[in-house]
Amino acid sequence: MIKLNNISKYYENKFIKTFVLRNINLEINEGEFISVMGPSGAGKSTLLYIIGMLDTASEGEYYFYDEPVHKMKEKKLTELHKSHIGFVFQQYHLIDELTVLENLETPLLYQKIKTSERKGMVADLLDRFNMVAKKDLFPNQLSGGQQQLVAIARAIITKPKLILADEPTGNLHSGQGKEIMELLKKLNDEGTTIIQVTHSEENAKYGNKIIKLNDGWIEK
């Protein structure tokens, strides 16, 4: 599903290259649940963003379902990204001005899905996440755990093949964190590929493979 060949990421500043990622070689198959671990500044998030096509590598090749992502134009990237990938963030990143329902609806709007179908999908998801009663609330009226639930719901509403989670439980207390991890596990069981960045050994155990990053290198 994902193949990274010699991916590097660096920032150039007056002839000094600051490396964030160095020579990353990685292959991820469909249905895997991968945990990326490592100290702060190791390049975990950057790796996630590159895989999620929100950032581009400075060097190297990236194949997504055998398609060369590193050669794609922005339009194609956006297209691929929005149909295959869902994102979950530590800070939830819901749109403050929109209600729960509208937040869930937005990705579908960008995919130009018909109103009737859209309403159905949103209703299903609200039901599945037990949030029907909260659908008209704004994000700041919800607890952190609830916000993250909405964020996950938003990430999967387009039925992506791949979910990228950047410390999804980082801002939550353990009870809520567990709930979120269970949910991700369930999604993985249903066939969704998941890559998560995490600091917690415990959360890492939900995955079936751990990648350790240090100073931009993959530790073997």
Binding site: G52, L54, D55, K82, E102, T106, L109
Partner: protein
Amino acid sequence: MIKNYFKIVIRNITRHKTFTFLNISGLAIGIAVASLIMLYVKFEWEYDKSYPNTDSIYRVIQRQPGNIFMGTDYFGVTQEPLGRTLQLEFPEVNNYVTMSSWKDVVINIDRKKNYEEDILYATAPNLFNMFSFEFIQGNPENALSQQNTVILSENDAKKFFGNDNPVGKTITVRENETWTVTGVFKSMPANSQFANYGIITSFETYASTLNNREQTFAWGNNSWCTYVQLKNGINPEFTQTKLPYIIKKYVNSATGSKKVREYYLQSLKDTHLYNKANFALNENGDIKIVLVLIAMAFIIITIASINYMNLSTARASLRAREVGVRKVIGANKIQLITQFVSDSIVYSIVAGIFALILDLLFLPSFNQLVGIKFSSTALFQPSFLIGFLVITLLVGLLSGAYPAFVLSNYQPAQVIKGDNAKGKHSALRRILVVTQFAASIALIACTFIILSQMNYIRNKDMGYNRENIIVLPLKDASVVKQLELMKNDLNRHSSIVEVTASSHLPININSSTHVKISGETGEIDVQSYQMYGDYNFLPTFGISIVDGRNFSKSVATDSANAVLINQSLARSLGLKDAVGKTLNINGDKYNVIGIIKDFNMHSLHQKILPLFIRMHEPWLQYLSIKTKSQDLPATIDYIKSVWNRYAEQRAFDYSFLDSDFNSLYKREERFAEIVSYSSGLAIFIACLGLLGLASFIVEQKRKEIGIRKVLGASVSDVVGTLSKQFLKLVFYANIIAVPAAYYFMTNWLQDFAYRINISWWIFVLSGGMALLIALITVSSQTIKAALSNPVKSIRYE
């Protein structure tokens, strides 16, 4: 999708009240100003363009090189036979109209009702064909074929006869002519040169009122407006090149004059806004005023749009995360640009609604400003509303495009991590603020310069006195015949100091002729202004005599062949000792009895030119009454009672000479008002933007302010640091504004023969004023921030 965008905008509008208020009020004022100006420009632009034949109609104007009259040697009037002759000589001339008008004619209906109306007389039916008059009753072909018939506009017919059928009824003109109504035509639109003429009669009817018909209709008499219609596809240049032939064959041979003259064809489309000739049926528009207004609309709209751009990009960092999130969940750039542009369009539409209310509220003041009476229904006509909508959407698009571009360019990987683009785009923002203030300061400086020139005009010694002088137009010959009796009665009142009758008022003498004198080197011929007065003319207006004497009742010949000349005429004639010399004026001999001191007999656009004054009662048109300043109402009542004793049939219209004098500068007053209002609005809107920016930046710098205060900065230190960066911008704006204002104003002042020098203090004043206003605006925010408790703002982070 769009619904989703709108939800966000509406929520943003209600959540960020200051931002919303600043943006919407700025945009609303901008849209209101632009739309009112559009109303005016459309009116002026479409003036006389509503006739189906407009494109093929030309006015014949003539130029008499060197015969400068009221600042130009072009004349809008020609000879009566000209139109007819052009059609006869040139096959491409399809049709012609010769016309002229009487102003303020007394009309009686049923011997009772009294009106004062303007009457147009023209070659019918040519007039109706050429200008496509629509007849409601009667028909264009023979409505005026009989003598003493008249047609009325729908409005005038209703005014005179109510709902009765006017056809067959009569109107009495000047108490002695009775004309029968033979038709009613649809009133012309307000922006037609015929709009004021509700009464039209034929040339034949007009001619029957004349004693000297031959002379009036001769080639020597230039009193008529001539319009010709060319066949389709004819280039007017082609006809124009043949016009010298007409002058040679007809004008010069008939008059025996070798006076150089030129004819030009001026397209009807240009006659209103680009008129350069003296005399026309109506007061003309002025392309300069139109252009100035368009420029002002543009400046104000731009300043308001800049506010939106600046406040939006400043706040962009707050929305950066939203942009990032939207990109993450699948938005592409186009969708984001659409979102942010629809944002600004929603703002502009809300502003548009307020703008429409402002338009309604300020329409009366605007009417006064431009001198046209638009009714409020004009604001609901489809053509206006469409234009209004276009302006509104355009403003939304213009203000939204740049912020949308900035916002949609954010890279999600960066903004989501939290390092948002705080410092970016601030350079451009500064440039935009400088632009706003440069425009505002330049306008303020222009206002000061225009006002000081106007002040100079008002206070300059014109060489005559215009205080406490009441002017009565004598209106017609029957009143003039009673003149002596009236003067006697008036002089009896203790508050009346002097009474004089004259053909012109000293503020504007607009008749001229040639004066000749035989000298040693042959005959000298001088073009000179002329007027008629009486014994009291000089004392009434306080015009002094430098040599010789005034007209005197004790010298019987004074009323026949005495002439007073001004110093300029004496100089032009080359006379050192003019008193006692004999001048030849139009073939008659006149003795110079006195030299009067030069006075400004026109607006200050023109230099003092030669003038002579003679006595001849039939030509007198104005009665000027010098009064004592106290108890004016009683004096006016008395004057009215005297007027009614001798001229009851004519309405008692009086004016004060000083206000008549001011009306000479109507155009300049209008210009001054336009520029001063615009500069006020410009600086106001610019300050709204500055206020928004200041409050935003202060908000962003809360922590910095807190740290500074913890480190020991005083309130004034903080206010100083924060305000300095804004004041610096205003200072740069000054540097741009000064040369711009100087350039435009030097140009404007060129039009005046007598003008002020632009002095440096005007720029210091306008710059200082802008600086002060900006300082007050910014201080309201910075002082608040500086006074806040540092602990709070540091913890806040």
